[in-house]
Amino acid sequence: MAKTESTLKNMVLTLLVITVIAGASLGFVYKLTKEPIALAKLNKQQTAIKEVVPGFNNNPGEEVLELTSKEGFNIKVFPARKDGELIGVAIETMTNTGFGGDVKIMVGLKPDGTIINYQVLEHKETPGLGTKMDVWFKTDKGHQSVLGKHPEKNNLTVSKDGGEVDAITAATISSRAFLKAVRVAYDTYTENSGKIASAQNSQPTAEGGVQ
């Protein structure tokens, strides 16, 4: 077959045809994958909430409260309820004082503020040092664990700063950032407990209808 000549008309036409075909096929694949992508994102959020506040049977993703902490961070509060009663909150919290910038974690608090569990969502800490935070503060060894502690009753800062938590070896800055993020979550929660409670009050009527 003879090669198409490089006239202006041919060039514009070919490029146009190719781009239109490309655009159309992408639009098609986009439609196909749109739902699975949304589902995958939702799943990730759900698993994180389930891990930090187990045992709820509502849909915390639907009741999410988007708040701003006094430091100006965007905090998301997911109320977890069992049969309409608040059993805890999963709080997506963050701080910007990590070694590599932002540290984002999901922390689960009981209604009184006791830490149930946490999960690290996003960070840029040094691999092998700061990254250990995803298990370090759950490990029941020495004074590492923060699970079951209360941000008000326990002094949740690293031992170097006079607190009662052992910092990650060689990653004090990352540890401070982690504990700070927990603190931000707790402060935002207590400050807005009224709002969270009112959301709870409006809930039974909605759910009462269903039950």
Binding site: S6, M11, S25, T33, L39, G128
Partner: protein
């Protein structure tokens, strides 16, 4: 050239990473673990095979002067498809590879094969060429990823080989990527000289 040679050249003789030194950005950027290297390699293979095939099919209709832009559109389309599929079905790998998925577009290996091979050969040989080159690239990334993961954190594909406090952390970090690749290429140069 027979098809077996056409396929196998991508693994050693014309290996994109070790010999031609193409596609270095993802090679260094995503190989902090073996599994990431493999994932990136396979994603690139898919893009390579598909874009090679399409380029070989449409090569006669494309005027010479708009050759490169047309190839780039074809490649970018397949990259976006990979991106969306990965985001939907392999979200954790998608998060790990991050920015490097859209950057497959500017991976010189892909455009290089489209221009140097697929635009001159039949669709069948182009697919085989893409497959060989892509798998060779995937192999190189997996090897580098394994070395870095093993030396850096004492694991291989996530399986613990030795406790990680004995690992040389630097190999997981940026400098280790350069150094590990440097020694790997030196080693391969040595082997080639002897062979």
């Amino acid at each position: 050239m027979n098809q077996w040679k056409n396929f196998s050249k991508g693994f050693f003789k014309e290996n994109a990473v070790f010999t031609l030194l193409l596609g270095m950005c993802p090679t260094l950027g995503v190989t902090s673990s073996a599994i990431n290297g493999l994932g990136m390699g396979l994603a690139t293979t898919f893009v390579l095979v598909m874009s090679n095939l399409v380029v070989a099919l449409i090569k006669d209709f494309i005027p010479d002067k708009v050759r490169i832009p047309s190839f780039i559109v074809v490649i970018a389309t397949f990259v976006t498809i990979v991106e969306m599929i990965m985001q939907a079905y392999l979200p954790s790998l998608f998060d790990a590879l991050g920015l490097f998925i859209p950057l497959i577009v500017v991976n010189c290996v892909v455009l290089g094969r489209a221009e140097a091979f697929a635009s001159k050969n039949s669709p069948v040989s182009s697919i085989i060429d893409g497959l060989g080159m892509g798998l060779g690239f995937a192999m190189a990334l997996t090897i580098l990823g394994s070395v870095r993961e093993l030396l850096g954190s004492g694991k291989l594909f996530g399986n613990v080989i030795y406790p990680d406090q004995y690992g040389m952390l630097v190999f997981v970090l940026a400098p280790g990527a350069f150094i590990a690749l440097g020694y790997l290429i030196a080693f391969i140069n040595r082997v080639k000289e002897k062979a």
